[in-house]
Amino acid sequence: MIELFHFKKDIPFMKYGKVTTLISLGTFVFAVFFLLYRGLNLGVDFTGGTMIEVRYAQAAPIEHIRETLKGQGFPEVFVQNYGSTQDVLIRLPVEQGKSGAQVSEQVMKTLKAESPDVQLSRVEFVGPQVGQELYENGGLALLLVAAGIIIYLSFRFEWRFAVAATIANMHDVVIILGMFAFFQWQFDLTVLAGVLAILGYSVNESVVVFDRVRENIRKMRDTSIPDIIDNAITVTMSRTIITHTSTQIMVLAMFFFGGEALHNFALALTIGIMFGIYSSVLVASPLVLLFGLKREHLIPKENGIEGANPDGSVV
């Protein structure tokens, strides 16, 4: 059998706990800094405004389009290529005294007058009110997921695990957002969906490790808690890598074949997957230790678990 990740000895992850936590803290602060300093490059979904995608028969004269539209009373127009040289994306802020419908009509008229072969591929107009609501709902969803996960994990494990997993999780989300702020990639509804999906996905990772920790605590009676965690991480390492590779393969397929529309979505997922591995191993577990996990927290006094073997394991 092919075994890429079989380790003879447990890797002493917890020894490096302080270092890795510091690294995490560093990236986290870095991400927060850019989120505050540069902010997210929000798409029209959240800011409101009009987005028009058009296709030309030949390579599109970007500069010319920009000048023409500026001359037509759209001073804040934003024009760029979108995917290919023929496709053009035009973004306009919410215009005073004009509905989105009027804006897109006027733009198309202007462009058609310049070159009749231009074709409208897509228009998105979002009113400022709706944009604000979508933004707020996104934030609310984030909090709701975090709360849901804390409640479920507290119930299935223990509060230390729940809080640690959630912090690790939020750490991933903040880093994704920070990257989007740093590179000024456009953040729209689809990307938000990706970020929220990562929330569920990344906590998986922590759950798998925690599950092993719980099992080990029952089986390995004479081992210290840090060693138990090291063992849990080491034995699940192979699964971690294989699973994430599979998911990443799918995400890469989206990245390469899904076109512009899924581009940033796939990007968000990729960052999420990378940091998901890191944070579940090197953030969540040290945090559990930091919170002072003890054997008693998981083994109820007396033989508490129903159907448990005499040694306390559950098979």
Partner: protein, 621 residues
């Protein structure tokens, strides 16, 4: 220990069969088609059907199938080119009773359709079309209600012969002023009798020497008005969309005061927006005949009491009486045509109630001048204190002034329109009914048809290539168990597709991304199982025991991790809208199907491969 009882295999086989039957319709390509639906209740006669077919034959447009289910005729064509030509040809001949629309018809075989196995709906981003989110202007609905109360107060008091000084709206109250306390106290029970069920909250007070009876709408009443405004608008929008000729439109309430309108296949968004958003209605009013100077009223900006200042098309001011003879609500039908001078006109038919009101009003005023006022509401964005606010802008125009020659009743004609197109649009708007309250577009998404096709390909390609790569990876790494995992992953895909088709979900590009993502994440369960089996083998367990222990022990972890995922999915569903919601539905269903396929289906396969061997010394993992 690695054997399933027969019933379990049978159950899995049945589920697989159902999965295949219900997911397969999605793989039959849809065909361009033209659909003709009737506006009346009567079924489409075979003779009519022949007339349509003849129209196509005359233009030598060949269709390869046609069907008539009574209320709808469908012609299928080889390509969109013929489809467009056919739609034009049919529009020219069908007449007023039918609506012609472009459609994409499914080509699922009959035996599958008989099992209700239909393909998923394609979202607008996959088939092209327009999406509007419209907000209902609730304040306007409230204003309208107060206006109605105001008129009713006047009528009721006049009939009861109670004298009053004036009735006016003040903030959220309708205020009736009386000279004496006796008059007011006489008016209160008269009005109170009309409005039962506490729809108005009454208040009596004294102010500046006059006696006041104030009425405010009760919260319940306001709520009803909002509900009614939404429902009425949805009904009206539905009628208008039907007039536009759109196949499979979606018109739904979203949230408290919003309506989603999705028009697949519509490309002329300008016209769609004009028709959907406009609130055009007519009012008939008498022209002032007491010799007041309209010019003077215009320069002073104030109209004499009981009159209102309007403008005619050419800008000339005109004074009309405040009292409305008839509003557009009573119009049951309107069609465009030409008058005796060959000018564009609109022929109007009223309902019984409207007809009797109108004949009374015109009968009393024969030989007087009557004006037709055209009222259209559009929205404009203005800045108030740095905040962008949408304000309704009402355009009121006198389109026609004519002397009432005789008592008018159920049917009559209005003229004075600029063009035949205007006559047609006005007739359409009147026919489709007035909106209870103005609507404005707060979100619009238009996707061109070629873009839709590209998006399908993109979504499909990312799924297929991703899947192939995962299968190769799994088979190389886990060999026979990798193959088993891959088959269960494929089953997962089929089941997910089947459930989405069964609930007739709408497939969008984010939905396709969610399918790819769930497939990528679903493999986790199999990896967990396979890793566990390897570990048990390493610890010295014999293969059969290792397989069993691997499946048993991985189950708890799979459950935990999938449930946390499900929590995220449900939160997404609850708070997301539009594309995010579609994404969430796929994610949640995918998690459920993956638990079944990754555990039960893969276990069954493993059992079939290894469970019946007497002496198993080595497994390929």
């Amino acid at each position: 220990m690695n054997r399933y009882p027969v019933w379990k295999y049978v159950m899995i086989a049945i589920i697989l069969l159902i999965g295949i039957i219900y997911s397969i319709p999605n793989f039959f390509p849809s065909e361009p088609a033209v659909q003709i639906s009737t506006k009346t209740e009567q079924p489409i006669e075979p003779a009519e059907m022949q007339r349509f077919e003849q129209a196509l034959k005359d233009k030598s447009l060949s269709f390869h199938a046609s069907e008539n289910n009574g209320s709808q005729v469908l012609f299928r064509f080889a390509d969109t080119d013929v489809q467009l030509k056919a739609s034009e040809a049919l529009k020219a001949v069908v007449g007023d009773k039918y609506v012609v629309a472009l459609n994409l018809a499914q080509s699922t075989p009959q035996f599958l359709r008989a099992l209700h196995a239909n393909p998923m709906y394609l979202g607008l981003d996959l088939r092209g079309g327009v999406h509007f989110l419209m907000e209902v202007d609730m304040n306007a609905a409230k204003d309208k209600a107060y206006e109605r109360y105001e008129d009713e107060f006047r009528d009721t008091l006049r009939e009861a012969k109670v004298a009053y000084l004036g009735i006016a709206r003040e903030g959220d109250q309708l205020v009736a002023k009386f000279k004496t306390e006796q008059e007011r106290d006489a008016a209160a029970p008269v009005l109170g009798k009309v409005y039962v069920n506490n729809e108005l909250i009454w208040d009596r007070k004294e102010q500046d020497g006059s006696y006041i009876l104030a009425a405010a709408m009760s919260p319940q009443n306001l709520l009803n008005i909002e509900k009614f405004a939404i429902q009425q608008n949805i009904t009206t929008l539905r009628k208008r969309v039907n007039e536009l000729g759109v196949a499979e439109p979606v018109i739904q309430q979203q949230g408290k005061g919003r309506i989603v309108v999705q028009l697949p296949g519509v490309q002329d968004t300008v016209r769609a927006k004009e028709i959907l958003g406009a609130t055009a209605t007519l009012e008939f009013r008498l022209v002032d005949d007491s010799g007041n100077d309209a010019q003077q009223a215009q320069s002073s900006g104030r109209a004499p009491i009981g009159l209102q200042l309007y403008k005619e098309r050419d800008g000339t001011p005109i004074l009309l009486k405040r009292k409305v003879m008839l509003t557009g609500e009573y119009i049951t039908d309107a069609s465009s045509g030409f008058d005796q001078n060959n000018q564009p006109s609109v022929n109007i038919t009223l309902d019984g109630n409207g007809a009797s009101r109108f004949s009374k009003a015109t009968g009393e005023n024969v030989q007087k001048l009557m004006a037709v006022v055209y009222i259209e509401t559009k929205f404009q964005e203005v800045e108030v204190d740095g905040q962008k606010v949408r304000k309704p802008v009402k355009t009121e125009e006198v389109i026609n002034v004519a002397r009432i020659q005789e008592q008018l009743s159920k049917r009559f004609q209005i003229t004075g329109l600029d063009s035949t197109k205007e006559a047609r649009d006005l007739a359409l708007l009147l026919r489709a009914g007035a909106l209870a309250a103005p609507l404005y577009i707060v979100e619009e998404r238009t996707i061109g048809p070629s873009m839709g096709k590209e998006n399908i390909e993109k979504g499909f390609n990312s799924n297929i290539w991703g899947f192939v790569a995962v299968v190769i990876f799994m088979v190389v790494y886990y060999r026979v168990f990798g193959l088993i995992s891959s088959i269960s992953l494929g089953v997962n895909g089929f089941l997910l597709f089947a459930i989405l088709s069964m609930i007739q979900a709408t497939l969008t590009l984010p939905g396709m991304a969610a399918i790819a993502l769930t497939l990528g994440m679903a493999i986790d369960a199999n990896v967990l199982i396979n890793e566990r089996i390897r570990e048990e083998l390493r610890n010295g367990a014999v293969p059969q025991v290792a397989i069993n222990a691997g499946y048993e022990r991985a189950w708890g972890t799979i459950l935990d991790s999938n449930l946390t995922n499900l929590i995220a999915g449900i939160a997404l569903f609850m708070l997301g809208s539009g594309p995010v919601r579609g994404f969430a539905v796929v994610l949640c269903l995918g998690i459920l199907t993956s638990m079944f396929s990754a555990v039960t289906v893969s276990r069954a396969l493993t059992n079939l491969v290894y469970g019946y061997r007497k002496r198993l010394t080595d497994i390929s993992i």
